[in-house]
């Protein structure tokens, strides 16, 4: 009985899809010979495909429902096999060692094309980690993150153009300017939460882009700024391949720095205050936390990383224009943390690699990139809304051994 019902449902779905895709998949007007081609085979493919997919879809849904039941029964959250293996500290160490070795030999083994892609992915890791401070930790949805990225990139480009300031000097300046912009954005939106904050930050991102696009005297408009010098290496001229490797190691360094700093912040007095703020703003203030300050700190620290990566981006591409800092860019970085797993460092890394590397290596699908992207996010939201990597936030684990002496003193 149920089987027949399911078959009928799938049949209906496949007919519906054949009907929907009929105009684009079946009919083709050949304008040269002025004839209409009927590609009936396509229709059969669509029909069969959607028939099979509807079964897979239903299977996944039912699996998800039983999963939800498991969760209700207070079972520990389902972990990826990968995560279970990594629970073992020995495995963790050897995996880290393997990754480190791979990362070091990477530029000597692969072509500069590969190195460039990897550098880009690593830049997005840092961007994701930065955005994660406000979104994942402080719970403030920021949809204009690309604006801070732009601030970093343009501060290097313009400072270099006007004053000939070098990469290494521009790096901290770009980061500081982006942090300053974070605070400037923060001041008027301190009272906003959730959707309202999202809209205002979205607007802010667009304002920055539009200013860059239209204020020709300042930013050279849509044509952008070219001939931005690559970073120097103690005054030695590097050829193209060497520069790729150099930038690669530089970004690896910044990535490690970001992971280190953000981990430290997470487990600090300030990190705790952010979590409390995300949980309950009124209670958080009543416990003596200066929320204004906590929010501005989060925004500044988050924007700082975007500024830093912005400077590197300008140096890497040697050309920037406002088209690199659209809303799509902000959405991309946000997707990285949503898909990877909100609030976790490992999740952001996984998300960045998936979202940046997959499209590069699946060039064949590049026409459907945005389509696949959208589908992936929809599927994620349905089947794994907590992200690929789900680690419940690491809570402070109190153990008597560490603190026994202190307890006995009181």
């Amino acid at each position: 009985m149920r089987k027949i019902k399911e078959l009928r449902q799938s049949l209906l779905i496949s007919v519906w899809f054949m009907f929907l895709t009929f105009p684009i998949m079946v009919i083709r007007v050949n304008t040269i010979d002025n004839i209409i081609e009927w590609r009936w085979m396509n229709m059969i493919y669509v029909g069969l495909g959607s028939f099979v997919f509807s079964f897979i879809w239903r299977y996944l849904l039912s699996k998800k429902q039983s999963g939800a039941k498991l969760l209700k029964a207070d079972k520990p959250a389902y972990l990826l096999p990968m995560q279970r293996i990594f629970a073992n500290p020995w495995m963790q160490m050897s995996a880290l060692f393997f990754i480190a070795v791979f990362a070091v030999i990477f530029p000597f083994v692969f072509s500069s094309y590969q190195i460039n892609i990897m550098t880009t992915a690593l830049m997005y890791v840092v961007l994701g980690l930065g955005l994660n401070i406000v979104v994942g930790q402080a719970g403030l949805l920021n949809l204009g993150y690309a604006a801070f990225y732009a601030v970093g990139a343009y501060s290097y480009a313009l400072l270099n153009y006007h004053f000939g300031i070098g990469f290494w000097t521009a790096l901290p300046i770009g980061a500081a300017l982006a942090a300053l912009f974070g605070i400037i954005l923060g001041l008027p939106v301190l009272r906003l939460r959730g959707d309202y904050l999202a809209i205002v930050t979205l607007g802010f991102g667009e304002i920055v882009r539009l200013v860059l696009e239209n204020w020709n005297e300042f930013s050279f408009g849509p044509s952008g700024i070219s001939n931005i010098p690559r970073p120097g290496f103690f005054g030695i001229e590097l050829n193209f391949e060497q520069v790729s490797a150099y930038l690669y190691f530089l970004v690896i360094g910044i990535c490690l720095l970001a992971i280190f700093v953000i981990r430290r912040l997470q487990n600090s007095r300030i990190g705790r205050a952010w979590i409390a703020m995300r949980e309950d703003e009124v209670a958080c203030q009543s416990m003596g936390i200066d929320m204004t300050r906590a929010k501005l700190t989060a925004l500044a620290l988050s924007s700082m990383w975007a500024g830093l990566v912005g400077v590197i981006f300008a140096a890497k591409t040697t050309f920037i224009n406002p088209a690199s800092f659209t809303f799509l860019e902000s959405a991309m970085i946000l997707s990285i943390i949503v898909i990877g797993g909100m609030g976790t460092i490992l999740g952001v890394i996984v998300g960045a690699f998936l979202l940046i590397l997959l499209p590069e290596y699946l060039r064949a699908l590049s026409d459907y990139r945005m389509l696949a992207f959208g589908a992936a996010i929809v599927l994620m939201m349905i089947f794994r809304p907590q992200g690929i990597v789900t680690v419940s936030r690491r809570t402070y684990q109190f153990s008597d051994e560490n603190h026994a002496p202190d307890i006995s003193t009181k």
Binding site: L265, A273, I275, M291, T395, H403
Partner: protein, 270 residues
């Protein structure tokens, strides 16, 4: 009994002619109230009398329409705190709990109390990143102090438990622990016994007296449980429709006709 405690040490909180309007509604009408050092004061009254609104004015959540709030922490100068920012008031030494529990659900019991230590500790961004000796010591102290406070309210079993998984009575005690972690001179409890069973209420009774004893602080408490109010309070204020209708010792309040009328309403008239 409470009376054995040293009294008349001078007041730590003075509320003068406090008035609060919400649009056309006058939620508090020229209320005067004071709390002395080491005193346990109860604030009672029917639903909607304006008790929580007074707490919200004291702790800075609301800006009063008129009137003044002065504090005088033991050994310090008298200070006007009317309309001061919430976190600054907490830092000056008044901490509260909420009528509708507002713990940080996804943090552990210990972490909840650690948040309370925030305003008494210093580590900023730099210290967090560098994590030098001083910062490590501060973190360690935060943990052990928080644990000690949890021990005082009897929650050591739940130290690593997520706050949302705690039973109701434990959540209420966790809120008290969190407030105590801010080292207040005055603890404001908004219906601490609400939703507790008689056994838990009995424990709460002891806890409140013990806090006063051990921490040497004052307590201002809103409570509907008359047994608890009568047994722990030194003095009681009664409010109705935003006005203070009576004040006095528990025995005086028990006998007061205005109070009985406010509580029993028409039934009493009939």
């Amino acid at each position: 009994m409470p009376q054995t405690f040293p009294q008349n040490k001078g007041s730590v909180l003075d509320i003068v002619n406090l008035t609060m309007n919400f649009g056309g509604l006058r939620a508090i009408d020229a209320v005067n109230l004071h709390v002395k050092q080491w005193e346990i004061v109860a604030l009672i009254g029917p639903n909607g009398a304006g008790k929580t609104t007074i707490f919200n004015c004291i702790t800075g959540l609301y800006k009063p329409t008129a009137g003044d709030i002065f504090i005088q922490p033991p050994g310090r100068k008298r200070k006007r705190v009317t309309g001061m920012k919430i976190h600054k008031i907490t830092k000056r030494g008044m901490a509260r709990t909420f009528q509708n529990i507002r713990i940080f659900s996804n943090m552990t019991a210990l972490e909840n109390v650690m948040i309370g230590r925030h305003c008494r500790t210093k580590a900023g961004v730099w210290e967090a990143v560098l994590k030098n000796k001083r910062t490590r010591k501060e973190e360690k102290d935060i943990v052990s102090q928080s644990y000690n406070i949890l021990a005082k309210v009897g929650l050591t079993q739940a130290v690593n438990e997520l706050a949302k998984n705690l039973p109701y009575g434990a959540q209420r005690r966790l809120e008290i622990a969190r407030a105590m972690a801010t080292e207040p001179f005055l603890l404001l409890l908004d219906e601490p016994a609400a939703g507790m069973n008689p056994y838990e209420t009995k424990e709460l009774d002891e806890l409140i007296l013990r806090i006063r004893e051990e921490e040497r602080i004052s307590i201002l408490m809103i409570e509907h449980d008359m047994k608890l109010v009568m047994s722990v309070s030194d003095r009681i204020y009664v409010m109705d429709y935003g006005e203070k209708i009576a004040e006095g010792s528990p025995s005086e309040i028990r006998e007061n006709h205005v109070v009985i009328k406010a509580y029993l309403g028409e039934e009493f008239d009939a």
